[in-house]
Structure formats: C-alpha cells, structure tokens
C-alpha cells in the first residue's frame, strides 16, 4: 500500500535551500524546547512526581508495553510498518505459558517463546518472501489467532497449573523484574541492530527494499528473522503479563497493540522504516508512561490520559517528519 511507502515521493516539491529551511528548523527546535520545558515544569509542580517510588512506578508500567514495543521496533525498522496482531499473540502465548506451568517455569517460558516465534514468524515469512502487505496480513492473523484461541480454550480463563510463574513477579532490589528485563532486552536489541550484520541489513532493507533487492541482500530471510525475534519479545511480554495477572484469557492483550505502536512512534521511529533504535523506543515507552503518570497524579481521567498519548504521538510523528525532510533538502 503506498500509504506506507513514505518519502522519497517523486512528486515532492522542490525545496529551496536557504533561510526558509533554517527558519523551519528553528521553529521545530523552539517548539520542542518549549514542550520539554512545559513538561518539566508540569512534572516538578506535580505532587509526588519526583520521588523514587514514582520513578519505579513509571518504569514498571512502561516495562510490559516496552518489551513488546522493542519487538515492534524490529518490524518497523525493517520496513514492514506495524503488526496489528500483537494483542492476540500475547493473549494466546500467555494462555500457553500459564497452562504449561506444571512443567516448571523454565520449560514453560521456553515453550511460550517458541510459540511466540512460530505465530509471528509465519507472518514475517509471508511479509518477507512474498512482500505481502503487513497491515492487512496482521489483521487477518489477529482474527485467526483470536478465533483459534477461543475455539481451543472454549473461551475460558486459563489458571496457572503450577506456582513457578510467580518468580516473574519478583522485585530484586525493590524494582520489578520486568524492568530489568526491559532494560536488558533493550540493550541486546540495540547491540544487535548496531553491531551485527543482521542489524545493518535490516536498516538497509527498511530504508529501501528495492535497492536492497537489487544489491542482492537476503530481503526475505532478514525480514522473517526480524519478525521471529519480535515474536520472541511478544512472548516475553506475554509471560510477564500473564504472571502479573495470574490468569490469562483471549482478552489478556488488551490495548497492547496500539500501546506498543504508540511507544515506537513516540520514540521517533518513522513508520516508513530504515531508522529508529531500541533505546529510542524505550524512551518513547517511558515518555508515554510518564505523561500518563503525571496526569493520573494530577487527577485527570483515563480519557485525558489517552488523549494526551495520542497528541504526543501525533506531535512526534509530525516533528520527526519535518526534521528529516528538512535535513534532506
């Protein structure tokens, strides 16, 4: 779908170099600066915002979305836009994870990751090798996963068949385990993207799939591997979410799909692919969590929190677009 093939658009207007451009960039920078200042003032004047407990809370609430968003970052950087099947995948894997608890934590985790890889990897292979439209494909996948999960489970809630899962709720050093895992995974993903041949190919394919094909890069394989890895990360999210909720059903994923997309976009990763980083996604997830937290502490309703999340994403998308276009002229 050409909606996703962002620039370079052949019909882009000729940008004239000179003052007008630098003025535009100046405006962008000014807007950014004001926004940051406003956020700081708002944060500092919010009662109990600047406390260790609150910082921990922000990280904890960012952690589950953050891990899934890391997976989505791989998909987005590789030029496959987004997956709309994150929530159902997480729900299905979470149910599998809890029902496998009788084998012990580690085997259950391994099984969950394997299933996550399988579910998302199949979609990745189709996107990679056949160049299928990822948005529509993942819509189909979300129907399929929910349908199968409902059919198999009969719609009932899965309760853990053993107690091992509770170790995922541990708080070493007073901070939730999922926060450590988030930071660790973010570093691993960042390193993979920056330091491995796979990471380089992923950026190249994401920026220009046609050129990558012409250069003989393994487009299909690299894309499929990115989705596989994303599937594994979704599975980790699923395990933590299921453990936290101590039960899982087909609704376990909740609004995770859109929360993860919002985190990726708020981190400044363009949906067209080829750019972005794991650490920026981490920042995006924390930014959204912090904004929700400020609003909650100031007594705003859930609706206002969601509204602000949307506005943050919109502003970041527009600013990132303007900036990259500006640097291109």
């Amino acid at each position: 779908m050409n909606v996703m093939s962002a620039p370079p658009r052949s019909d882009a207007p000729i940008r004239r170099p000179g003052r007008s451009r630098s003025r535009a960039e100046l405006v962008i920078d000014a807007v950014l600066l004001l926004a940051v200042l406003a956020a700081i003032v708002l944060a500092l004047t919010t009662h109990r915002f600047a406390t260790v407990a609150n910082a921990k809370a922000i990280l904890t609430s960012a952690s589950l979305v953050g891990i899934a968003a890391l997976g989505l970052t791989l998909i987005t950087i590789g030029g496959s836009a987004v997956s709309l099947a994150i929530s159902p995948s997480v729900a299905a894997v979470g149910m599998i994870f809890l029902s496998a608890q009788s084998f012990g934590l580690v085997p259950a985790l391994a099984l969950a990751v394997l299933c996550g890889i399988l579910i998302t990897g199949v979609q990745g292979a189709i996107v990679g090798y056949a160049a299928a439209n990822p948005v529509v494909l993942t819509i189909a996948a979300s129907f399929a996963i929910t349908g199968i999960a409902t059919g198999v489970s009969g719609g009932s809630t899965v309760s853990p068949t053993g107690g091992g899962y509770d170790r995922l709720n541990a708080t070493p050093g007073g901070v939730a385990l999922s926060v450590y895992v988030l930071i660790g995974l973010a570093l691993i993903v960042q390193w993979t993207l920056r330091r491995t041949g796979f990471g380089r190919s992923l950026y190249l394919i994401g920026e220009n799939r046609r050129a990558a094909r012409a250069a003989g890069l393994p487009v299909g394989r690299t894309t499929a591997v990115a989705w596989l890895a994303a599937g594994a990360l979704f599975a980790v999210t699923a395990a933590f979410t299921a453990a936290f909720n101590t039960s899982a059903n087909v609704n376990l994923g909740g609004t995770l799909t859109f929360d993860a997309i919002a985190a990726v976009l708020a981190g400044g990763t363009p949906i067209a692919g080829g750019r972005g980083s794991a650490l920026r996604t981490l920042a995006g997830a924390v930014l959204i969590a912090a904004a929700s937290d400020i609003l909650l502490l100031r007594g705003s309703s859930t609706g206002v929190q969601i509204l602000v999340k949307g506005v943050i994403v919109l502003v970041v998308v527009v600013l990132v677009h303007l900036r990259t276009e500006g640097s291109r002229a």
């Binding site: 370079p8 041949g197 250069a215 750019r275």
Partner: protein
C-alpha cells in the same frame, strides 16, 4: 509548412537551478503559430527543465514566458493548462488503474465537473483513431495495454486538449515506427490548425522530417535556433556536440581473442522491450550498450541482473547457468549491478557512506554475524581509496554528497570485491558533472584492468568513445551492430537515433 506565422510562444532568458546544478540558463527562443518546433540536445542539456517550466511543473528562477503576447506566471499545472499548454511528459504519465477513456479525460479542463463519458465518446474515439489506436476499446483498463500503446494514449490526451501550445517531451522514444507515423500525422494536423508545438526528441531523423525549426541546447544554454531546411543529421549532431567529435576511437590494444568468455547471454527476450539479445563478454574489457530511452539497453542489463521477472533466455557466468529473475542468484554468480536510478534502486540515501559501500559485503566484514571492526575498517579504507572518496566523510550520509560523488559510492560498491566477475552499469554517469564522470571512467577502466568484465549502457557519445572497448548499438529492442574496431562518433549517434536504416531510407 514553414514558420512564417506570427510568433505565438516566446521564451526569454529562462533560468533554473537545482541547488548547485544550473539546469537551464538564459534560454530564449520563440515558436510561431502553426510551427512544429524541435528542442534538441544531448542528455542533461536542460530540455525537460524548459518543458517543466512551460508546463507549470517548475517555476523559473528568472526569465519570462509569453503566450499570445501575454506574460504568464505558470505556477501550477492547472494554471498552465488554463493558459492553453498541453503536455506529454518525458515520463509516462497515464494511470494504469484507470480505463483508456478516463485517462483521456483526466485533467481535461473542458470536461467540467460532470462526467460526460457517454457524450464524450465519439470525440475520445476520434482521438484514439487519430493516433492509430483504432483497435483499443475506450473502456478497456489501461493496464491491459502495452507501453507503446499507453504512450499513445497520453499523446492522444494532450492532442485532444485544444491547447495553444502543445509540448511533447520525447513522445516517440518508446514507440515503433508505425506508431510514430501516426503521431507525426496527428501532430502535423494539430499544427495545421495554427497552434504551436514544441517537440523534444533524440531521434534526429524525425526532427528533420517533422519539424520546421530546431532549437539546440547544450549544457543548459541555447546554442542556436535554425530552420530545418538548412540542416542535415550530421550538421545537427555538430550543433549538439559542439566541435564535431570526429576522432576515431582509440583501440585499447587489447586482443579481440583473449581468455574465455565470462558472461554468455543468448536469446534474452523481454516481451515488448527486448527481442532475442545475445552476447559473449571476455574479462578485462569494457563493453558498452549504446541506445536511447526505449532502446532496450537498460532492460538487457536489468534482466541479466535478475531484476526482470518476465525475462527469458540463457545467462551463463563462467559456464554456470544463472536462473533469470533472481537477483540473489545473480549476485551469487558474481554479477554486480548499478541501476540508473540510484535514488530508488541503488543507494540508501540516509545511511552513511561506509554502510552503502559495504552493503553487499556484509558476510565478508562480519565474524559470527557480528561486525568485525578490524575487517570493516580495512575493507572500507580499501574501497574509499579505490573510489577516490574522502575517507574522513565516510560516516556522513550519502544524501549529503553531490550527485557525482553519490554515483561514485554506488559504482564503488561493486568494486574491490574479488567475487564480482561482471559489473553491469546502467547509464553510470547520468547527471554527473565532468569531473565526477572522469573519475568514474577511471574506476571502471581500473576494474577492467584487474580482470573484471564491465558492461555499461549509455547514451552519450563521448563516454562511449572514451571508455568502451566494444560498443553494441541498440535501437527499439534489437541490436543494430557490434563495433569491435574503430568507430566514429556520428556513426554511433546515427545508429542509436536511427537504427540500421540506410541513409537512402531517410528523407534527407
């Protein structure tokens, strides 16, 4: 007919720059009512930029455009259309997902808001018949038509717009002779009604046969406007090229018989584009495919590189068959390809120079899949040196480079790799300045000296003469002639613009 009518279109001192590129400067000429006015010049001379300014797609930096005496500010396509300018763009600009009739009505100002497809039927039918598309149904989707027929539809659309000025930018480049004849007849008929026609073409025969006067451009400036009566193909070539490049090509002294053929292509065909192309290439030599837009030269290179799914024929590298249509198979077999479209099919513009240079070499610079800094910088230093780039800038994005240096990066990606046997380049110096061009030529020559087989396509005489050991001319999808020996520039130009036609078949 002759250019005796009063001047209808007047262009004065038109100037346009893109960044540091002066595409057009100080261009002036006029077109009389009823005149067919040709605009000639070799690639990059600025013809299309003039066309874009006349048709409202670009705003001139300076200069004036007058139609019917009024000075016009053509700041958008709609304004230009309302001022009576109809256009056939250099790039095919019809929409494949619409029907023929819808394409004919697209953008037509007189069509109004109401869709009068039924009412317009007879008029549209006549337009199609006019350009030889009598067999095409008005309600057929355009996607069912061939490239030539689509081009004719676009021409028919422009012809039907009742414009004061009709611009055709290389309208016949992708057409057969029969199809072209229809276009000539239709254009003559429009001119006969007292309109002005600007006809851009590389086909000098048709320029002389069809047009009344020719304006020749070179490097963004107008060289001269001359009545065709006083011109021959050869004198026109002289105007286009400056001093006549009559020097014979220097033989490079390499033996015609040498080591065994590296690349062997036989019976390569792409329906509608290339017909039965065969060639054998030896290592250490530079080969050129010479042909204008639509000659099939690019298509041959793309097919060998595995980028044309519909290609048939046999391709062998060192006696091993390469599956057609698989770019990865071609790469494995040792074929590297440099596309003519470096922006969308070549470079990764937002990525650093280093990434671009090493994009195809990732397995060689990684250990266990992890980038090995040592190998990375060794390979990079070697390539940067080989390409003559500034090593200190290798972390900058390719976008920040000039066109010439971008092209060097693109070409350089295929160099310095022991596994590359055949380097294919589609128009490797397109839009590159003189200095950059010379540097790329040196790169290619060095590559051949190191034992690589180089095959490039080009439209430019000087490049063909300077660089190639063997030149194969192509015209309308078939090979005209292979020149292993000495050849004069004008001969090549004649074959490229004319095919194998003997001088007797020409009008002049």
């Amino acid at each position: 007919m002759s250019a005796t009518g009063e001047e209808l279109v007047r262009v004065d001192d038109l100037t346009k720059s893109f960044g540091s590129t002066r595409a057009v400067h100080g261009a002036s000429f006029g077109i009389a009512a009823g005149e067919i006015h040709a605009l000639c010049g070799h690639n990059g001379a600025g013809k299309s930029t003039v066309v874009k300014m006349l048709s409202g797609q670009e705003t001139p930096d300076a200069g004036a455009i007058r139609i019917g005496g009024d000075r016009l500010d053509l700041h958008s396509r709609q304004v230009a259309q309302r001022s009576g300018v109809a256009l056939v763009d250099q790039e095919l600009s019809v929409v494949a997902s619409l029907t023929v009739a819808e394409n004919l009505m697209l953008g037509d100002l007189r069509a109004g808001w109401l869709n009068r497809r039924r009412a317009a039927g007879p008029r549209l039918r006549a337009l199609l018949d006019n350009v030889g598309l009598g067999h095409v149904d008005l309600d057929q989707p355009l996607s069912e038509l061939g490239i030539g027929e689509r081009q004719l539809v676009e021409i028919a659309r422009a012809l039907g717009q009742d414009a004061r000025l009709l611009i055709l930018d290389e309208p016949t480049a992708t057409l057969s002779d029969v199809e072209s004849e229809y276009v000539y007849a239709a254009v003559r008929a429009v001119a006969a009604t007292g309109r002005a026609i600007l006809f851009v073409s590389h086909r000098l025969g048709e320029v002389l046969g069809l047009c009344d006067r020719v304006t020749v451009m070179r490097d963004g400036a107008v060289v001269a406007t001359t009545a065709v009566a006083g011109l021959t193909i050869d004198s026109l070539i002289v105007q286009m090229l400056g001093e006549a490049p009559h020097r014979l090509r220097k033989r490079t002294g390499r033996e015609a018989e040498g080591p065994a053929e590296v690349l062997n292509v036989s019976g390569l065909s792409v329906a509608g584009r290339v017909d039965d192309f065969s060639i054998g290439l030896r290592p250490g030599r530079v080969y050129a495919l010479a042909g204008q837009l639509g000659s099939g030269a690019s298509e041959v290179l793309r097919a060998i590189a595995g980028l044309v799914p519909a290609a048939t024929g046999d391709i062998e590298v060192d006696g091993v068959t390469v599956r057609p249509g698989h770019p990865i198979a071609a790469t494995r077999a040792g074929i590297a390809f440099v596309s003519n479209d470096r922006k969308s099919e070549g470079l990764f513009l937002d990525k650093p120079i280093s990434w671009n240079l090493l994009a195809t070499r990732l397995p060689a610079v990684t250990r266990w899949g992890v980038i090995d800094r040592q190998r990375w910088s060794t390979a990079l230093t070697r390539l940067v040196g080989l390409c003559g780039l500034d090593g200190k800038r290798s972390a900058d994005s390719v976008r920040s480079l000039s066109g010439g240096n971008q092209q060097k990066v693109f070409v350089g990606r295929g160099l310095g790799r022991s596994d590359v046997r055949v380097l294919l380049l589609d128009d490797p110096t397109r839009g590159v300045d003189v200095g950059g061009r010379a540097a790329i030529h040196v790169l290619l020559r060095d590559a051949a000296d190191r034992g690589m087989t180089v095959l490039f396509s080009s439209t430019e005489l000087e490049e063909l003469l300077d660089l190639a050991d063997v030149v194969i001319t192509m015209h309308k999808g078939v090979v005209v002639r292979r020149h292993d020996g000495d050849v004069a520039g004008p001969v090549l130009l004649r074959e490229m613009t004319h095919g194998a036609a003997t001088p007797a078949e020409e009008r002049r």
